[in-house]
Amino acid sequence: AQSVTQLDSHVSVSEGTPVLLRCNYSSSYSPSLFWYVQHPNKGLQLLLKYTSAATLVKGINGFEAEFKKSETSFHLTKPSAHMSDAAEYFCVVSDQRGFQKLVFGTGTRLLVSP
């Protein structure tokens, strides 16, 4: 069975500084990996996804993530945080065998201070 572990429940950064949100995955098969963002009282929005093409994936709003098979990691980064990035971020894994059952991590709340 596949799973993801988000290593930090909260991350605090200052505006303009880099963002790093950590995620490790476990999967018996070649995984598809996603990062979703949820702003307060909103639904989830896809930031980016890895589907076994390029290991460095670029997403919306300046975010990117690197798939590292040797480390079973898929960390999300952004060079410079904006106040509008404050939200909950979910790392998600999907089994590539067919039926897209998404397994969500517990989420990391990103706090951005002025």
Binding site: Q96, Q100, F104, G107
Partner: protein, 115 residues
């Protein structure tokens, strides 16, 4: 700008009452998912439809929950009778059915409070 819509956005009801939540998937999408989000359990998949047929509802309490797709533009999730532990945000998502790499588009959710 196509998006998934859900109604109602908020629902407060008393224990024992029936609750019906509705979802309109993005036109042309053939997969629909129902999720529940709570502080304790996080996001859990309740049910999954492809081409209106239920393919997986193993995450759903069978005795009180039911999910249907009367037509391609409407998915419903019913709880009867509702209980306080059902209080959560319920999300609907739709996709194009491209398999494990498909992007799921989420609606804004229905916040349910059962007193």
């Amino acid at each position: 700008d196509a998006r998934v819509t859900q109604t109602p956005r908020h629902k407060v009801t008393e224990m024992g009452q029936e609750v019906t939540m509705r979802c309109q998937p993005i036109l042309g999408h053939n997969t629909v998912f129902w999720y529940r989000q709570t502080m304790m359990q996080g996001l859990e998949l309740l049910a999954y439809f492809r081409n209106r047929a239920p393919l997986d509802d193993s995450g759903m309490p069978k005795d009180r929950f039911s999910a249907e797709m009367p037509d391609a533009t409407l998915a419903t999730l019913k709880i009867q009778p509702s209980e306080p532990r059902d209080s959560a945000v319920y999300f609907c998502a739709s996709g194009q059915g491209q398999g494990a790499t498909d992007t799921q588009y989420f609606g804004p959710g229905t916040r349910l409070t059962v007193l």
